[in-house]
Symmetry: C2
Subunit: 354 residues, 2 copies
């Protein structure tokens, strides 16, 4: 099988980690019978400055018509509002209907307090519809409003995805993989005590989706988002799969990343029907760009996650194992993990372990 | 001076901790020349079930017309949506225009990694305006929308309050109180990379408010909310005052509470012009209600915080010191802190230290 992968480095350290993603795909053993072709694509703040568009139409079209999957690096947020600029990754998620943002947060099993959870974030609506308006109050002062939109459809499919991921994780556990969880569990996060209609709809629909008979072995519980953040830090080991509307998912996944020591370890995949874009959870990190010290692991794991959603689970498992090998050895770690290794050294150590 | 204080225990452990708040006010030394009168007031889910109103008009009127301040316990959120019920504390904040929710999160100075921050949460708008509607898509499926409203006025006054709190904290430090901070700093939290108009307005207005010459000694920085949650856990000691729109403030304060070991330690005050309601950050905790094991400290510190905003700083300082004495001694701690003391025992230990 030949997979055509779009490479969208974006800004800052995106340009250092996406090439690492390409290298690991090229280094996968021949026995897997997987070939890759790569297409370099543009998006980001630099692209905006050069072309006036943060997400050129061409990028979207090539992804849609020619690619099986893609890797996205990171984009810089301008430090002041810039007219006409808006985040290309948010636009990409919507234009390709990548409705799920899947973010596994996992420590190595040898960690003192191992954790192993996946945040399944709705990726197309909520406040991310970006429908905003500004008007003047009677006294001339400004008021701005944004729409938070929650639909039954999007809530149903994201909760279904969460249930399926819970089942898949259970299957992997049953095949003998070491795990801290005994049975599959989905935790629905919302704030329906304040937002009875929007988050209320998310909550009720997620419950309904997870009540399907195929999920009969999956436990279902709920946490209100503020208390979810509290519990995430007090008892992270109890969480298996967390499903959340877009913004809460965004916040929870950064919070969970703190638990494993660095955002530089946490991957994500933006997943739609038959298409997935791997994307490290970290940002463009302008403070360390160009120094070859960015942690490539979030990207390498995002490559694996993308492969999982393209049904190449064996290839994915090889990458995860190589990354875990590097972390467990603990010899060649990037500075965010307290080490002194360069990006290149970490990548090469992981390639050796493939 | 005689202060008339409304007591609103609400539901669950609210009924166990609010009486502790009353006891500490009554136990303040006579030398302070402070007298208290108390008015018992109703609100909460139980009140809703009895009377059909979660926040009876009479409660609001008595608070407005007769009281100088109040203590609010906690309210239960029904486990399923209940028609006509909505959170009385959210309504109370709006009806009394208690525009700031001030939440200090502080470990004792003898902690291994001491932290000392205040979250200043806007308390009247954002998604908490609760303007929601539900409609049907063309295919009959449901869609719900909520308004997130951010005004220049509310953003300006909350940022001003944050700046004033930063200055006040600096003054206390300069008077010799031990502290981990050298200079005052306000961190503005937002998500303007996605919500350019609403959070953009919050960000720009907060910057403007904090640029006032009276705040020239106050450092100002920004964090995007997801990265704020990450940093809160990675380097909490760096934060002094955090100012945030309503929902982010809600989430951040629960997150920060996790850092000090228990929500049972974290107080808040809902503050308006000349009025303050002290309110523990924890909920009604139905799982432990009636057992006399709830941690009263969040409430006792909320009493102190309320007194601060009623300009009774000396009385407040006495309560804080007595609570810190109990925590530093570490002998009589409630179960959430790993101890075995009852609510009553903790309260009595703290009263002895007054
Ligand atoms: C850059 C930003 C628009 C984005 C988001 O909020 O989704 C980022 O935080 C993420 O989590 O991928
Ligand atoms: C109970 C709930 C409505 C409330 C809020 O969201 O404000 C609570 O979480 C709080 O922080 O006081």
């Amino acid at each position: 099988r030949t997979l055509r992968i779009g490479l969208i480095p974006g800004d800052g350290i995106g340009k250092e980690v996406i090439p690492a993603g390409r290298r690991i795909l090229e280094a996968l053993p021949a026995s897997l019978k997987l070939k890759f072709e790569f297409v370099d694509l543009k998006a980001g703040f630099e692209t905006f400055e050069q072309t006036g568009a943060a997400l050129p139409d061409k990028t979207v079209e090539i992804l849609k018509n020619e690619c099986d999957g893609a890797l996205f690096g990171a984009v810089s947020s301008p430090s002041k509002a810039v007219k006409g600029y808006s985040s290309p990754i948010v636009a990409l998620r919507k234009r390709l209907d990548l409705y799920a943002n899947v973010r596994p947060v996992k420590s190595v099993m040898t960690a003192k307090n191992p954790i192993d959870m996946v945040i399944v974030r709705e990726n197309t609506e909520d406040l991310y519809v970006k429908e905003e308006r500004t008007y003047e109050a009677a006294d001339g002062s400004k008021i701005a409003e944004a729409i938070k939109r929650i639909s039954e459809k999007a809530s149903f499919r994201i909760a279904t995805m969460a249930g399926e991921i819970a089942l898949r994780r259970q299957k992997i556990r049953e095949s003998g993989a070491p795990s801290i969880h005994k049975s599959p569990m989905v935790t629905i996060t919302h704030k329906s005590n304040v937002l009875s209609q929007t988050d209320g709809l998310f909550r009720a629909t997620a419950r309904e989706a997870l009540a399907a008979s195929k999920f009969s072995s999956v436990g279902v519980e709920e946490q209100i988002v503020d208390s979810m953040v509290y519990k995430l830090f007090r008892q992270p080991e109890t969480y298996d799969v967390i499903v959340a509307p877009n913004l809460y998912g965004d916040i929870l996944s950064d919070g969970a990343a703190a638990l494993v020591g660095s955002l530089g370890l946490v991957p994500s995949a933006n997943v739609g029907e038959g298409f997935a874009i791997g994307e490290p959870c970290h940002g463009s990190a302008p403070d360390i760009m160009g120094k070859n010290i960015a942690n490539p692991i979030a990207t390498l794991r995002s490559v694996a996650l993308m492969l999982e959603f393209l049904n190449e689970e064996t290839a994915a498992a090889k990458i995860y194992a190589a990354v875990d090998g590097n972390l467990e050895a603990g010899k060649l770690l990037s500075p965010d993990l307290g080490g002194t290794a360069t990006t290149t050294e970490v990548v090469e150590d992981i390639l050796r372990r493939l």
